[in-house]
Symmetry: C2
Subunit: 240 residues, 2 copies
Amino acid sequence: MKINTLLSPSNAEELFFTNKRTIVIDILRATTTIVTALNNGAKEIIPVNSIEFAMKVSGNSFGGHTLLGGERNSVKIDGFALGNSPLEYTKEIVEGKSIVLFTTNGSGAIVKAKFSKELLIASFLNAGRIAEYINKVGKDVEILCAGNNGRFSFEDSLCAGKIISEIEEQNDNLELNDGSKMCAILFKKNRKKIKKTMKESDHGKKLIEKGFKDDITFASKENIIDVIPVYDKGVVVLKK
Amino acid sequence: MKINTLLSPSNAEELFFTNKRTIVIDILRATTTIVTALNNGAKEIIPVNSIEFAMKVSGNSFGGHTLLGGERNSVKIDGFALGNSPLEYTKEIVEGKSIVLFTTNGSGAIVKAKFSKELLIASFLNAGRIAEYINKVGKDVEILCAGNNGRFSFEDSLCAGKIISEIEEQNDNLELNDGSKMCAILFKKNRKKIKKTMKESDHGKKLIEKGFKDDITFASKENIIDVIPVYDKGVVVLKK
């Protein structure tokens, strides 16, 4: 069984994902937020790759009954109901709602991988559940890290490494590409200090500056949510 | 002093490098080959980012007295005098020659960084000399890994990690970005098995398949060549 990890969506073509099973990771913060929102009862998340498209979808589709969420340069977009902090996506606010989500890295990464035969959304919160599912399926998988504006993001690779390590515990016949090997090394080196490492990462430092320290603490919690969000035909829902 | 590492040139704009000091690394095999060729007396290397341009430069410039070198899919290009194996670039063949070089990743990475105020070429062969020079200068530096067709390459990051670790030994006031931290971890984890790790890397396995195992053995030798190749106005020469 092969696990290929890509460190950024910018070098992959959309058609690369056709017939692949793909896991998308954007720890700070899109996939952490999606996992949280769905676990808190959101009906569905609609990831989009532009603010203009978010506005359009929100106005015309889903009967107009949507919440707009997301960020540009880490902060909430004017006119949007929600930012990209997972802590905003409480049960009171999201239950039963369709949420259109635009973020700098994560929502675009999901849209990039849209032709995958199965597209799973992972974060530290649900990494254990995702690894368990991949082991059950027992087939090749691509891990797509959203990265940081097309560049390497330490925290996304750390979470990819956690998933790879948990798969490895149950499967001693894995074939890892360069990216997967590196992620597994990062996780093994930092597994006892996930939160600290994330606070010291490029994106972590930027979020702390902008007042989102609590988001990092939350995003670093491992295996606290037992869901598998899947993207299919434009929306992310919980796998049945 | 900041060390920023980029894992691939594809997400950096040419103007990003303006006013920066940049180290380009493509272990398998372009920068290993450049270091070897210059150490063996080549007059200059002219890295180009297309085969067509290689042909054009070779025919019209440098008085027509050039050797064409390089590869596509690891093998020598039809009509070129040399491939991209450092072992071909012997003193007998290259001494006094201008060599136009096209390779899949490395030559394009160098051209991408052409606006750098100083552009240095590194490999395991001369990593120690490069680190020593950077420490002497004591200013911020970008490390640009050529990567593997726009993706992460284990061996380039491993060499970046070696350079960072050697700089770190002389400077306890370094600021590392996510990429640099990761490279330093990879090197520390694999420092005693560079050759083995390279043979098992994505690119290493491909080269072995195509019969270039000896290139990997050679490319993994550390600090055996004491030169600093610099790119300036289209050509790479030894720093005086």
